[in-house]
């Protein structure tokens, strides 16, 4: 562990077998550190479950949400997770359609993050409900007019699409695992056997796979855009200062790509280190991902300026109150920290090539991701304290919102949940697509069955 694997140990032009073995090596052994990590995550999730049952029994009053801050951390988490999940579509779909082949080794990381995040987004919304026991009412009595119903629909759809989009490019890799991972426990062998769908790389199978992938890559785009647009509409459709904005859809989507790119960079760093993938996730990938991050952050900065300058210029009654609170009032430290450390400073730093190296970019990305979460808090909460009528005749603590331990523990549990999903996925599946990697290097040997298939077709 202590001595990092240098590139010299690997041949400059690896063969297909070498690539294959490099990428499935981490799956062979369940390290002590890995076991400890999984247990740690499970402990946090259990703590979250305890906190949640407390909330279920006592009511949502155990949070600091009250009538004038009816949405709090949970909704901010929901928006955050939806945002992070959008990266799956950016890397697997937009970059692929633009033929940005450098991103191919990162697509599976992005898809796994997307799956973990969208699951936790769904969980966050249930956690936020006052009566989760009545969730079925959304199906039984759903009102098509409600953006929540649209959200319910797109979140579920996006979850399914994320699973499919993760699974499809995995099929050839699972076939390799089925053939190579013969020393793994029986459940794992059975899993590979079932999920490989009898993949033998015949021409017909490749044709079907390519077609289904291209369909999914295109399909995920409108769904991904609508999931975050609808999420932004949960706010924008209310005539409230700070929410009722026509640019909320693109604003949220730009912000989502920022959060997701940062999450991918963090994951890249971790897996490159832990799985010794320096040969596959190179400095060039970091360089490119960071450039992508800067691009999305510039776009987000542009929307931020629009979002704050226009109401700030007219300074209408409630807009003025709201913006004063953000710029100079109670929220100001958090607001400026978020905007500067989470947005402006990273943009400036990442303009330097040295900052786009793995370690500096990891640190910057952590700040960006933290900033992304804070930003969601700043979007969700302060607005609610500026209703049309003054807030009176309520207990004093209704006038502020300070999340309680219960809320923090439950939020931490959703973070742990997302990480657990990703950890379990990389435990059984290679984090870099083997066949795509081989294909990009021009050493693909998994089309072996083509001949048979041809014969087969001739016979038929």
């Amino acid at each position: 562990m202590s001595t990092p694997v240098t590139t010299s140990t690997l041949p400059q032009a690896p063969t297909f077998e070498q690539v294959r073995e490099d990428l499935i090596r981490p799956l062979h052994k369940n390290t002590f550190a890995n076991k400890l990590w999984i247990r740690f995550l499970i402990v946090i999730i259990i703590l979250g479950a305890i906190a949640y049952s407390h909330q279920l029994i006592k009511g949502l009053g155990v949070t600091d949400m009250r009538d004038y801050s009816a949405w709090g951390v949970y909704i901010a988490n929901f928006v955050f997770w939806v945002a992070v999940s959008l990266i799956g579509s950016l890397i697997s779909s937009i970059l692929k359609l633009l033929h940005q082949n450098w991103s191919n080794p990162l697509s599976r990381i992005a898809e796994m993050i997307a799956l973990g995040a969208i699951t936790m987004a769904a969980a966050s919304i249930v956690i936020d409900m006052g009566r989760p026991d009545r969730l079925q009412n959304v199906v039984l009595h759903g009102r098509l007019q409600s953006p929540i119903l649209w959200d319910f629909f797109v979140v579920n759809t996006y979850l399914v699409i994320s699973i499919i989009l993760l699974y499809l490019p995995l099929i050839p890799d699972i076939a390799i695992l089925r053939d190579r991972m013969t020393d793994s426990p029986p459940w794992q062998r059975k899993l590979y056997k079932a999920l490989s769908l009898g993949w033998h790389g015949t021409q017909e199978q490749w044709r079907l796979l390519r077609r289904s992938m291209i369909v999914m890559i295109i399909l995920i785009l409108p769904v991904a855009f609508s999931i975050h647009t609808v999420t932004s509409w949960l706010f924008a459709v209310n005539s409230r200062t700070g929410w009722h904005s026509t640019i909320f859809g693109p604003y949220f989507i730009a912000g989502a790509f920022v959060a997701g790119s940062a999450a991918v960079i963090i994951a890249m760093y971790v897996f490159r280190k832990r799985h010794k993938l320096q040969q596959y996730i190179t400095d060039r990938h970091f360089n490119m991902m960071n450039k992508l991050l800067v691009l999305t952050m510039l776009l987000y900065l542009y929307f931020n300026i629009n979002e704050y300058l226009v109401p700030g210029y007219t300074w209408q009654r409630l807009d003025g109150e709201h913006l004063r609170e953000l710029f100079l009032g109670h929220q100001a430290p958090l607001f400026w920290l978020t905007q500067i450390l989470g947005l402006v400073a990273p943009i400036v730093l990442l303009l330097f090539r040295r900052m786009r190296k793995p370690l500096p970019s990891l640190i910057i990305s952590i700040f960006v991701l933290l900033g992304a979460w804070m930003k969601r808090m700043l979007i969700v909460i302060p607005t609610q304290f500026h209703p049309e009528f003054p807030i009176q005749n309520v207990p004093k603590h209704f006038l502020e919102y300070i999340p309680t331990y219960t809320e923090y523990v439950i939020s931490a549990a959703t973070l742990a949940g997302a990480m657990l999903i990703i950890t379990l996925l990389v435990r059984v599946f290679p984090v870099v697509p083997i066949w795509e990697e081989a294909h990009d290097r021009g050493i693909n040997k998994i089309f072996k069955a083509e001949k048979t298939s041809n014969i087969h077709e001739n016979e038929a």
Binding site: L60, G61, L144, F153, N238, K396, F398
Partner: protein
């Protein structure tokens, strides 16, 4: 044509819409739709006996029976959702009269079994500009004709009846609090904790028109005391006011009655002669609670902070 009333002739269209909604949800749940559709289409040739609503016994092919997904509603829920035919309740609040006696809030809290700070009607201390004099303003739910809250409700838990009242069904509410976010008038409250009820109180039959018993994790809001209107009485708060602030009545009938003096006048004349107005018309909500301007007030001004102790929440 009463839109929101149950009308048997609408059932086929209702079913279509239900199925359309079901389809949306069904694809999420799986292939449920396919099976339910095939139930309707396949003809089996056997006959089933069926008793119609008019009492006739008829034989029909089982494939022709559409299972109307009858919502499981209690009698009080059904009644509460229908509304009182031929009325459009309205409310006129005379700001010149309000002296902050807060009898309305007390009675509201009492009738709906709320904590003091949850009162559905909230008397605010207002001052429109620095040079203007402060005045008191009771704010109930405005029962908008274009209500933002019922727009966003995902489960039809809050709804507008044919008589204009926006109600909440707390057996249906899932507690998403979207309506709180949507309401520009801060008219909605949430039950953050289990209300202080004995087991017996808790198990009472739920009355939508009174929203009692209150339930943890659901919304509660001003209902214009729909249960009182049903029996020809004025709302709790309106009849509790000692200062003649409230006029309550029916826009269709064009009359309003003062809750204190029981004087009855024409609604249109009262509004016209006293420059009545509504709040935030620019939001497009079409509020149905009117205000008369706070002019010629005779009462002294007492800052609201002095009432604070009543509204402290005992935190668990």
């Amino acid at each position: 044509m009463k839109d929101q009333q149950h009308n048997p002739t609408n059932d086929s269209r209702r079913n279509f819409l239900k199925q359309a909604a079901l389809l949306g949800a069904g694809v999420v749940a799986g292939a449920g739709v396919l099976t339910s559709c095939s139930n309707h289409l396949a003809s089996s040739g056997e006959k089933t006996k069926l008793l119609t609503a008019t009492g006739e016994l008829v034989e029909v092919d089982p494939s022709q029976i559409k299972r109307v997904r009858k919502e499981k509603l209690t009698e009080l829920q059904e009644r509460g959702r229908e509304g009182l035919t031929g009325h459009h309740w309205t409310w006129v609040i005379d700001l010149a009269k309000c002296k902050n006696a807060r009898k309305c809030m007390d009675d509201c809290v009492g009738a709906h079994e709320l904590k003091p700070y949850q009162s559905h009607i909230n008397v605010l201390q207002m001052q429109d500009s620095k040079s203007g004099a402060p005045y008191y303003m009771p704010t109930p739910c405005f029962h908008c004709d274009n209500p933002p809250c019922t727009k966003v409700c995902p489960v039809n838990a809050t709804f507008k009846r044919s008589d204009g009242i926006v109600l909440i069904d707390n057996l249906r509410c899932i507690g998403c609090r979207f309506c709180i976010a949507a309401c520009p008038y801060s008219a909605r409250r949430f039950q953050w904790f289990e209300p202080d009820y004995t087991e017996e109180q808790k198990n009472r039959v739920y009355d939508v028109e009174l929203n009692v018993p209150q339930k943890k994790g659901t919304i509660t809001k001003c209902l214009m005391s729909a249960d009182r209107l049903r029996i020809g009485k004025l709302p709790y708060c309106v009849s509790a006011c000692p200062n003649g602030v409230y006029w309550f009545g029916d826009k269709l009938e064009d009359t309003v009655t003062n809750g204190t003096t029981h004087e009855t006048v024409k609604f249109s004349e009262l509004i016209r002669d006293n420059a009545g107005y509504t709040y935030f018309e620019d939001l497009g909500t079409k509020p149905q609670v009117y205000y008369l301007p706070p002019k010629n007030r005779t009462s002294p001004y007492v800052p609201v902070d002095k009432f604070q102790e009543k509204y402290e929440e005992k935190r668990g």
